[in-house]
């Protein structure tokens, strides 16, 4: 690796940390804007003045904001994310407990969404205006117009109450009961995937149609290769740039919380945690979450960058925009 490449790497690492710095500062300032302080949310309505003073001291709220930031960031740098004001739990542990749920939900729904949208997108691009294309376009519009909270409730009503074939709420860890674990995942994953399918199918179809008009696809056809082989091996990969990029963004977003779906299905993910934390002014949890999502987002973005050359060898490195 030459000096230039090294310095490029160094600068991208620097950018990474500057971004994290900016994000954490921004969240501190943003939270500062919200009326009310953690103490109001933690203490009972009839709290005594001694309790208020004790609480302020305990959470360091009597210090100026920059000191709080410094001590927080200092803790973070040593791996200490502090304790939730509200629950008294270690923030790191809380996140560690909930992150797997959100991660699993996010990845599974992306996988399901991809599993649905790749074949649908590819085929609609191959036969635009065909039956599948029309059906999917219609479904897409319908799904777009159905917010997750409506879709989720409909699914629950249909599968849980009317048909009674699926459990509708809650979470069972895999280690406890793998079958139930999967069963409980089905509806939330479907709800989330439905929303993402829309975007994925559109993107893939668009890019795929462009690729299918290229000469090399024609040339592969003229060599008599079977259709599916042409679509999947010769056209799909280079048509999936937008798909991969957007999947990355979407995963980042989903990991950060799928509040509505978590609320509907009572899942112990990070979304509800964040909302509760914001509503109870449990800033320390919010800050950790924002930091975490930002890191995950940036890492996934990097991973996506690394994927481009694998998709299309012509691309050496696309800089994240």
């Amino acid at each position: 690796m030459n000096v230039r490449a090294l310095s490029r790497h160094a600068s991208s690492v620097a950018r990474f940390f500057i971004l994290l710095f900016l994000v954490t500062v921004a969240v501190f300032l943003l939270l500062e804007l919200i009326p009310g302080s953690p103490v109001d949310a933690i203490l009972p309505p009839d709290a005594t003045p001694e309790q208020v003073a004790a609480a302020r001291a305990q959470y360091g709220l009597d210090q100026p904001i920059w000191e709080r930031y410094l001590s927080w960031i200092g803790g973070v740098l040593q791996g200490d994310f502090g304790r939730s004001y509200q629950t008294g739990l270690s923030v790191a542990e809380t996140i560690a407990e909930r992150a797997p749920v959100s991660l699993e939900l996010a990845f599974l729904s992306i996988l399901v969404a991809l599993a649905i949208s790749i074949p649908v997108g590819v085929w609609s691009a191959y036969r635009p205006g065909g039956l599948l294309d029309r059906v999917s376009t219609f479904t897409i519009s319908a799904t777009l117009a159905t917010p997750a909270f409506v879709l989720g409730i409909l699914l629950v009503y249909l599968f849980g109450v009317q048909l009674g074939i699926l459990p509708i709420l809650g979470w069972t860890p895999f280690s406890e009961d793998p079958v139930e674990h999967i069963q409980r995942l089905i509806l939330p994953v479907l709800t989330l995937a439905a929303g993402e399918c829309v975007l994925f199918t559109r993107l893939l179809k668009g890019d795929m149609m462009a690729t299918l008009q290229q000469d090399h696809v024609l040339s592969a056809r003229a060599r008599g290769l079977p259709t599916w082989r042409i679509l999947l091996r010769h056209a799909l990969r280079q048509s999936s740039f937008s798909l991969v990029t957007v999947s990355g963004v979407v995963i980042g977003r989903l990991i950060g919380g799928t509040v509505l779906v978590e609320a509907i299905f009572s899942l112990p993910g990070m979304g509800t945690m964040v909302i509760t934390a914001i509503h109870s002014r449990d800033y320390i949890v919010v800050q950790a979450m924002v930091l975490l999502t930002a890191v995950v987002y940036l890492l996934i973005n990097t991973a996506v960058d690394v994927t481009y050359p694998l998709l299309d060898p012509r691309v050496r490195k696309v800089r994240t925009s």
Partner: protein, 498 residues
């Protein structure tokens, strides 16, 4: 008073069976299982783990011993807490007077930030012997046993608390019927039988799961789909639906007070008697209930009609009378020289039912010409800030409780929860009597006075008499219902599955 285990068992048919897993759903998660927080914040989660020192028997309408044997006083000032011998916490340490005092001391320490501090504030206590704690008050208070059903009721293992350190909210060690197996916040709390529970043979259940399901209809769905066996609810209409569907037992606990429109009597505008009366006269609880809580009776006084503490002769909420309301309002305008008035109503955002109520109230108020009734919808935290700091004109607030004694803190001019800044010497006096008197009839009379005055003054206008409900699957027997700050719950150690 005597103690009793399974007093109510006889009412159920069949022989109790051991085993099984019961799922119970409630609507909000609690933040802490610290015994110092338990009594006030979450009966449902805490009672199975810590038990309660006393229990209020809804049938007999009296306190009975639960974790403790008895709590008695002769003068209302000195109280003796008798504990049972040989009770141990689930970690094996003894549940004794030292443990009780340790827990109560903790509550009294402001650093603990316990919501029960106010209750403990005026009390002093001492260990008399390992089974006895003596409590002394400065002023007589015959309502003190409530504190041992609620705020001071949960006693955790001192060893466990010390061991948990900062993690105390997450690792409760009690002597109750169940022990914590796993707590997945915002999803479910899993409990299993405490093998060393002192009431031998109890609990019947192997496991108790408490789920958090926010939306009312999702909980109903869960009940219908068999996902849960017992559902918590405040909705009469759901109770009717469920009753009509059949297959469920429904338990009801009438509550004192309810959610309502509270006036800030310190506010220069709203403190005006005439204006307030005008608004009270425009208020139409029947309309609210018909729309949002079908099946609930319209409210005409602070307590439900059948309550012994209500005497209509002493006062009722003013009847709806728009013409009179308009007259009073015009009067108010004339008096203050204004041409119109704006009153802001701070309320919850994001809860459809409450938003609907707020909008209904708004439309009712705005039937008074010249009055603009503005809705300021905020999240729960902002709402409690506004309420605590008394920074509101009118607000949506709750005085939900099973016990009448709650009225003291809410409406006494010195009450710690008197966010309305309500001050009425008659009420103060009557409330003081409810605590200082041992005479049940006198106390009831005093409460009648309070209720009458409140209904007349209307610092708070509720729109329905709230009732806590439990919808219980037919297969579940032996439910011993308890009233809580948020409705109905149960002592699950007596429950069993058929």
């Amino acid at each position: 008073t005597g103690c009793g285990s399974g007093d109510d068992d006889g009412t159920e048919s069949g022989e109790p069976k051991r085993g099984g897993r019961l799922s119970y759903a409630i609507n909000v998660e609690t933040s802490s299982l610290d015994p110092a927080f338990c009594g006030v914040q979450s009966f449902d989660r805490c009672a199975p783990i810590f038990g309660t020192l006393l229990r209020y028997d809804l049938e007999k309408k009296e306190f009975v011993g639960q974790m403790a044997e008895s709590f008695e006083s002769t003068d209302g000032k000195t109280w003796t807490l008798k504990l049972r011998p040989n009770v141990t916490f689930s970690d094996g340490t003894p549940f004794d007077a030292e443990a009780v005092v340790f827990n109560w001391d903790r509550i009294k320490d402001p650093k603990t930030l316990s919501p029960s501090l106010r209750i403990a504030q005026d009390m002093t206590w001492a260990v008399t012997d390992p089974q006895t704690v003596t409590v002394t008050l400065e002023k007589a208070n015959y309502q003190l046993p409530w504190a041992l059903v609620r705020g001071l009721s949960a006693i955790g293992s001192p060893a466990g608390i010390q061991k948990a350190g900062a993690n105390v909210s997450n690792s409760p060690v009690g002597a109750g019927p169940f022990v914590l197996k796993k707590w997945t916040r915002n999803s479910q709390l899993e409990l299993e039988r405490n093998p060393n529970y002192f009431e031998t043979g109890l609990p019947y259940l192997d496991e108790l799961v408490i789920k958090v399901i926010g939306p009312d209809d999702q909980r109903l769905n869960a009940l219908r789909s068999g996902e849960i066996d017992v559902n918590w609810s405040l909705l009469t209409k759901d109770a009717r639906t469920i009753e009509a569907e059949g297959g469920y037992e429904i338990y009801r606990v009438p509550l004192v007070g309810g959610t309502g429109l509270q006036f800030n009597l310190n506010d220069p505008v709203v403190r005006d008697e005439g204006l307030r009366k005008a608004m009270l006269m425009a208020f139409d609880s029947a309309q609210i209930n018909n729309a949002v809580y079908p099946g609930d009776e319209p409210v005409d006084a602070f307590l439900r009609p059948d309550a012994p503490e209500r005497d209509d002769a002493l006062g009722k909420f003013p009847d709806k009378n728009l013409a009179e309301a308009q007259r009073l309002f015009d009067d108010y305008l004339a008096r203050t020289g204004k041409s119109s008035e704006t009153v802001t109503f701070t309320c919850y955002a994001g809860l459809p039912a409450l938003e609907q109520v707020a909008q209904l109230i708004q439309s009712q108020m705005q039937q008074i010409k010249g009055l603009t009734f503005k809705i300021d919808a905020v999240d729960g935290a902002s709402l409690s800030v506004a309420s605590n700091k008394r920074e509101f004109q009118t607000i949506m607030g709750a005085t939900l409780s099973q016990e009448m004694d709650r009225l003291y803190e809410v409406f006494h001019s010195e009450g710690s929860l008197n966010v309305m800044s309500y001050s009425n010497p008659t009420v103060d006096e009557a409330l003081e009597l409810t605590r200082s008197s041992d005479d049940k009839d006198a106390v009831t009379k005093a409460y009648q006075t309070v209720v009458g005055e409140l209904s007349k003054d209307g610092p708070l206008r509720t729109w329905r008499y709230q009732t806590g409900h439990l919808y219980v699957n037919e297969d579940v027997k032996g439910i011993v219902v308890a009233g809580t700050n948020s409705g109905a719950s149960a002592y699950f150690q007596y429950a069993w599955m058929d």
